[in-house]
Each structure stands twice: as C-alpha cells, then as structure tokens.
C-alpha cells in the first residue's frame, strides 16, 4: 500500500476532483462511528488532502490508494450519515456526491458497516446499493466481533446484498489486501448485476440475489408498508440475523451500566465537570513547554534574521511585522493541537455523545441545542474551527444562535492578554492569577448563555430543536485517528496564520511605521517634554524613540482620534491604539502595548512588559494601569470580537455579512458596556 499526498492534492485541485490523473474515484460511505476514518487513514497511509465540499465547510478528504502495481484510485471520504434521504448538510453532501450532482458520479462506492452492529449499519448499505453504482461492502471491526463471539457469514451477506463483501479490521489491517483486490476487480468488471466470488476455488461465483427484494408479509410493519425507512431497517435487521453464523447476542449490559452513570441526573454532571477540568488542565499543562520553545524559537529567528539583513525598513518589516506578527499567533499551535487531539479521543471513545445528553437540558433553556456543546467546547481553542463545527446542528435558528455566541468563549488568542493583566494585578500570586483566568473563562461562558437567551427572546425566537442523538458504542479511541485529526486542524490554523494574519501583520507594521519621524522632530519632542536626552541610557532612549515614532505614525494619530471613545472605560490613547490594532486579531494588543510603552518591538519576556506597563503614568503622574483599568481591559478583551478571520468564517457559514456585522456590533457594545461597568465599579472600591 502506498499513497501520495501530492498526487492526491493535484487530483483534488482539479475542479471535478477526478479525472486529471486518470484514477477512478471511489466514494466511502457509512454511518458515523463505523471506523470509516480509520479505514480511510489506513488505505491512504495517513496521507490525504483535506479541503471542503463545494459551497460548504464540510471536510472533504481525498487520498490516493494503490490497489495493485497497475491501478490506483482516488478515495473520497464522505461524511458519516445514517441515511442519504434526510436533509442535514452532511447527508446532502453525501447524497449529492453519490448521485454526481455537483461533480462526476463516482466510479464505485465503498460502504463501511460495523461487524458488531450489522443491523444498525446495513441500512445505509441498502440505500447505497439502490443507487445502482458498483458497490463493495467492507465489514469493519471484524476482529472485535470475533472476540465477542460473533461470526459473520460474509458469503451469505454478499449473496444477499448482491455485491462483494470483505471483512476487515482497520485497527489490525486484517482484510485490507483482499479489500483492495476486490475493489480492483469491481472497477475492472462489468456493470451490475454482479457475480459474487465465493473466495474459494471449489465454489463457482454465484449470481447475486436481489438485494432490494420487498419484505415478506410477516416481516413488514403494517402501517409503514410504503415507508422506505421501516422497510430498510426491517430488511437490515433480517439480513443481520441471517448473516450472523453464531447467533449469540452480544451483551451490552456493561455499556448500559456505564450509560446509567454518565447520563445520570446527579452523577452525570459531576463526571462531566471532572472530564472537562481534566481535559483542559492537560491541554494547558502539555502545551506550556512547547509554547515556550516556540516563543524562544521565534525570538532566536528574529535575532538571526536581524543579523542577516541590513538595518532599515525591510529588516523591520521582516522581523517586527512578519516574524513578530505571525510568530505571536503561531505560538498557540501546541494548545490547538492538544485540544483537538483530546476532543478526538473523547469523541472516539463515545463519551462526547453522553456529555451532550447531560448538557442538553441546561443549554436548551437558553435556546441552544445540545449539539452546540461540542462547538462551544472547541471554541476554547479557536472560534474558527468551532463555527465550522456547528454544521452538526441541522436547524438554522439553532445554528445561528450557536455561531453568534461562539466567539464569546475564551480562545487561545486571549490568553496572552489575560496573562499580562494577571501579572500586573497579582504579581507573585499564582493562585490569584489562576482565579483571574478562571473568572475570565466563566465570564465568557456566562455571557454566551445570556446572549443566547436574549437572542431567543428577540432576533431568533423559538425553541432550540429537540435532541435526537445516536449514542455510539463505547470504544477504545484510536491514537492514530486523533493524531491525524489534530494535525489537520493544526494545519488549517497554520494556513490562516500564513495568509490572513500575515497580511494583517504587514498592514499594522506599515501603519505603525509610516510616516517616519525625523531626528529633528524627535529632538524637538524630547525638548518640549524636558527630557535630557544626553542623561538617559541608550536602551531607554531607544524606547522613547519607538514611542515617539508610534505617536507620529498613522496608528498613533488614529489612536489620538479614538482615545476619547475609550476614555470612559479607563483606557489611555495607547491602549486605545492597542484596541484598534487588535481589531483584526486580539493577541496583537500585547505586541502593540509593548511597542507603545517604549519597549522593543517584541516583548522578550512578559514580566519586562509588565513592569513597564505597571509603572506607566499619565503626564500628571497618575498610574495608567490602575486596578480598575486592568479589570476593564480584561473584561473588554473577554467580550470583544477582535478577530477578523472569525468574522470571515461567520459570513461564510451564515451566508451573509449581516450576521457577521451583527456579531461584531453586539460583541463590541457588550464589551464596551461591561468594561464601563467594571471600570466604574472597581474604581468606586479602590
């Protein structure tokens, strides 16, 4: 087995996603949780290109699989669905692809079913076969069925289905060679009806029985005789019974008992809280060291590049604008990778679906569906993949409500802002700093629920749609899949950092560099402030010079214009500039403050920045960063939108700039209002 990411990439970059390399296209179809992704990863050797299905944000994974020396195929992993008939975005994408609505019809379908639960998973196989395309069925988890005493009669199953059936195990690799050779035969062979190979030389191939036979009278369900769902499920149930050689029924008492605890009204929430606290602690704990490495790595890169390039604007652009701007965002990569790795493990284990059952009742009260829980959780790393993940919510009202409140969750980019404020407010008190962090997280969550409730009462009236959720079986999660998932999400994040954030960084650099301040002008300014340039150290002089240049540049002028707006919430003009520069990416505020308060362009160490901020004063000598201003700044950054890429994704997912503009507007007003209250409340007590 071999695969090539480049060839897969070049194929899928073709608009048709198909014929550029001459490979035939095989679509993979099946229920969620039948191990489709594991099979895809094994078949493509973990090399695949992820893009989106046309006009959607649903992941489209395409990989190349070499079936033998002469033939390779392009394998497309369709989203997991229970039916091709319903109307969720995933089902629509899967159906359109199978039917060739937006692209060419696939050459064959590979349907994955679960050996431990044929009854449940054969329903989609029937729908696939009804499309009349060459089809092969892979019975996954064959080894785990065997362990549980279930022997599947693959020949009977194949005969009844009228298509080749192969038993496989994505975990061990069992049956994959046979799957590939059968796929090659299927693609080379005649159209339906198919001859089913028995797999043994003594028995000749047998003609397929009609898979779509109508149910016998005693199997039909009376009132639902014409209902394809009832027909399909009863057919699947009958076929599963016939195909299981050893008729022993798998006991699921253990799963029932676990379910009882995990979804219990009292124990469920405790377990939920414990799992979440543990998951988040591990995310921050594991990410800490690699983040420090990356931070110092970028620092080293910046000084290395500074040494290479001659001093001047170009050096400043590369070092301050590009390395500083992009690097400042990329240091959050470890957190994002670990969070998505944990989420994948939790989802694979079957726990996340139980967590949805636990939180559904609370979330529904504020007009959010239980399914919004996973996107809200993912938003703690980054709102962008979280908003994309809302596609699991079918109802548009519910989905809009979720998208509108997702950016209120504390994402990784807010952490540097929290960190600097915590350091200023509670120097040398890690416990108080931790409580401050927790409060900021809590404020975001409470605000999200309050806003969702207000939306329910006003713009998005109605109840959140009611929960109907398939609870997958408990399984040992696959590390391989989780790593792959984390890698994909991380790559998306890097792609954004390399494009949108790179552009923003360059723009901000330009705005804060030009027009230039002449030496004479600087000396005049210093003289007017009665600063004796000769008596201060070189480092401090550089700091003063940087600040003066900032004030002189476009950004500084803008800051002075907007300063009166932010004065009521305790911000001086420099913080106002920070708010402005971080309009597109909130983490930029830290580097902006570090520049404006007279440090070098990038804070080498946050404590240095902290000291400088703590000692910053207004011309009349009063402190800039009082407790009230710090709290106000924190509240503002917890609640403000301040993220242009998120706005772009909101527009894409809601289909209109109107919702993106509303999101920006309400969050900015909320942030300002809450910061105003916080500033004046804290001022009254301090």
């Amino acid at each position: 087995m071999s695969a090539s990411v480049d060839s897969a990439a070049s194929e899928s970059s073709d608009a048709s996603g198909k014929k550029s390399s001459g490979d035939k296209v095989v679509a993979m179809l099946g229920n969620p949780n039948v191990g489709k992704t594991s099979m895809f990863n094994r078949l493509t050797n973990l090399l695949a290109k992820t893009s989106n299905f046309p006009g959607t944000t649903i992941d489209r994974r395409v990989g190349r699989v070499e079936l033998n020396d002469r033939q390779s195929i392009s394998l497309v992993d369709l989203p997991g669905v229970y039916t091709l008939g319903a109307s969720s975005p995933e089902e629509k994408v899967a159906r359109d692809f199978v039917l060739g609505e937006n692209e060419e019809v696939p050459d064959a379908l590979l349907v994955v079913v679960d050996a431990t639960n044929l009854q449940r998973t054969l329903f989609v196989a029937r729908e696939a076969l009804q499309q009349g395309r060459p089809t092969i069925v892979a019975v996954n988890f064959i080894e785990s069925a065997r362990r549980r005493g279930l022997e599947i009669d693959l020949n009977t199953l194949g005969r009844k289905l009228g298509c080749p059936v192969v038993g496989v195990s994505a975990r061990t690799g069992e049956g994959f060679d046979r799957l590939k050779s059968q796929l090659a035969i299927l693609l080379a062979g005649p159209a339906l009806p198919l001859l089913i190979s028995s797999g043994s030389p003594e028995c000749p191939p047998t003609p397929a029985e009609n898979v779509l036979t109508v149910l016998t009278d005693d199997e039909s369900c009376g009132s639902c005789r014409v209902c394809p769902y009832a027909d399909g499920h009863q057919w699947a149930s009958a076929l599963a019974r016939e195909s299981i050689r050893d008729g022993s029924v798998v006991s699921d008492e253990t799963a029932d008992r676990v379910d009882y605890f995990l979804t219990n009204r009292f124990i469920g929430p405790v377990v939920f809280a414990a799992v979440m606290v543990l998951a988040f602690s591990l995310v921050f704990w594991f990410a800490q060291v690699p983040m420090e490495w990356m931070d110092s790595g970028f620092g080293m890169l910046a000084s290395f590049v500074s040494g290479l390039l001659p001093e001047g604007d170009f050096q400043s652009l590369v070092v301050d604008g590009i390395i500083g701007g992009v690097g400042g965002v990329m240091v959050f990569l470890p957190q994002i990778l670990i969070l998505f790795f944990m989420l994948a493990l939790l989802e694979d284990s079957g726990y996340l679906a139980r967590a949805v059952v636990v939180v559904d009742r609370w979330m529904r009260r504020v007009g959010l569906p239980g399914q919004a829980f996973v996107p809200l959780l993912a938003a703690h790393a980054c709102a962008i993949p979280a908003i994309m993940a809302t596609k699991v919510i079918e109802n548009r009202r519910d989905r809009l409500a979720a998208i509108m409140v997702i950016p209120l969750m504390t994402c990784s980019a807010r952490l540097p802002v929290y960190a600097i404020i915590a350091a200023m407010l509670f120097p040398g008190s890690p416990l108080s700093a931790a409580i401050l962090f927790a409060s900021a997280y809590l404020l975001g969550m409470v605000a999200a629920f309050v806003v969702a409730f207000l939306l329910k009462m006003t713009l998005l009236p109605g109840e959140a749609s009611h929960l109907i959720l398939d609870l997958p079986p408990y399984r040992t999660p696959s590390l391989r899949n989780a790593l792959r998932y984390a890698y994909e999400r991380g790559w998306m994040f890097l792609r954004d950092a390399g494009t949108v954030i790179l552009m923003i960084s360059i723009v901000i650099w330009a705005l804060s560099t030009y027009p230039k301040l002449s030496d004479e002008r600087f000396e005049e300014q210093m003289a007017s402030r009665s600063v004796a340039v000769e008596q201060i150290g070189e480092e401090e002089l550089d700091g003063l010079r940087a600040a003066a240049e900032q004030e002189h540049a476009i950004i500084g002028r803008l800051g002075r214009v907007v300063a009166p707006v932010f004065e009521p919430i305790g911000f001086d003009w420099k913080i106002s500039v920070g708010v402005m520069t971080s309009f597109a990416a909130r983490e930029v505020v830290v580097s902006t403050l570090s520049i404006l308060y007279g440090l070098g362009p990038e804070p080498e160490d946050e404590s240095t920045l902290k000291d400088r901020l703590s000692s910053a004063t207004y011309p009349d000598g009063t402190k800039v960063f009082t407790t009230a201003t710090c709290v106000s700044l924190l509240v503002f950054f917890v609640l403000a939108m301040q993220c242009l890429p998120t706005q772009a994704v909101t527009k894409k997912e809601t289909g209109s700039w109107k919702w993106a503009a509303f999101q920006f507007g309400y969050m900015t007003l909320l942030a300002y209002g809450a910061a105003f209250v916080a500033y004046h409340a804290v001022s009254a007590f301090t």
């Binding site: 229970y82 039916t83 008939g85 319903a86 109307s87 639960n117 044929l118 009854q119 449940r120 998973t121 329903f123 369900c221 009376g222 009132s223 639902c224 209902c227 769902y229 009832a230 499920h233 699947a236 149930s237 599963a240 799963a255 029932d256 379910d259 009882y260 979804t263 009204r265 679906a353 949805v356 059952v357 559904d360 009742r361 529904r364 239980g370 079918e394 109840e463 749609s465 009611h466 929960l467 109907i468 959720l469 398939d470 609870l471």
Partner: protein, 76 residues
C-alpha cells in the same frame, strides 16, 4: 383492545411504537435512526432526555420529542 401512551409517560422496559405525531423533519430523523411505527423499542433511561434502544442502536430523545411518540399498550 389496544390503547396508546406517549413515550415520555411510558413505563416498562420495552414496547412498540404505535404512531408518531411530530414535524416531518423530526419524524424522518427518528426513522433514519430506526424509530418508526411498528418498531419495537427498549427503554434504557427514563427522564429528559430519555434513551431508547432500537434497530441495534441507542438513541437519546428529548422529552418534547417523546411526547410525540405514541406507544402501543396491550391490555391483558
């Protein structure tokens, strides 16, 4: 004679769905998961949401949905 009771009031471990009185989208979602008229279901967890077993799977169903699922009650 058979009578009906909604799933949210259903007491017992297993029963048969008599009919569903739900918006079409909900009904289709339930049917695709194996809950349709005539289907035998097992009650795994009462409350809201409740968990039922049918067609080889386990499905969590909100109380408001359960109100629209009528179970057949066989009188002895």
């Amino acid at each position: 004679m058979n009578s009906e009771i909604t799933l949210n009031h259903f007491i017992g471990t297993s029963g048969e769905i008599a009919r569903m009185d739900l918006p079409e989208a909900c009904a289709i979602r339930l049917k695709s998961l194996g809950l349709f008229e005539g289907q035998k279901v097992q009650l795994s967890r009462a409350g809201n949401p409740m968990i039922v077993k049918a067609a080889g799977g386990k499905i969590a169903v909100a109380g408001d949905i359960a109100k629209g699922i009528y179970m057949r009650v066989a009188h002895s």
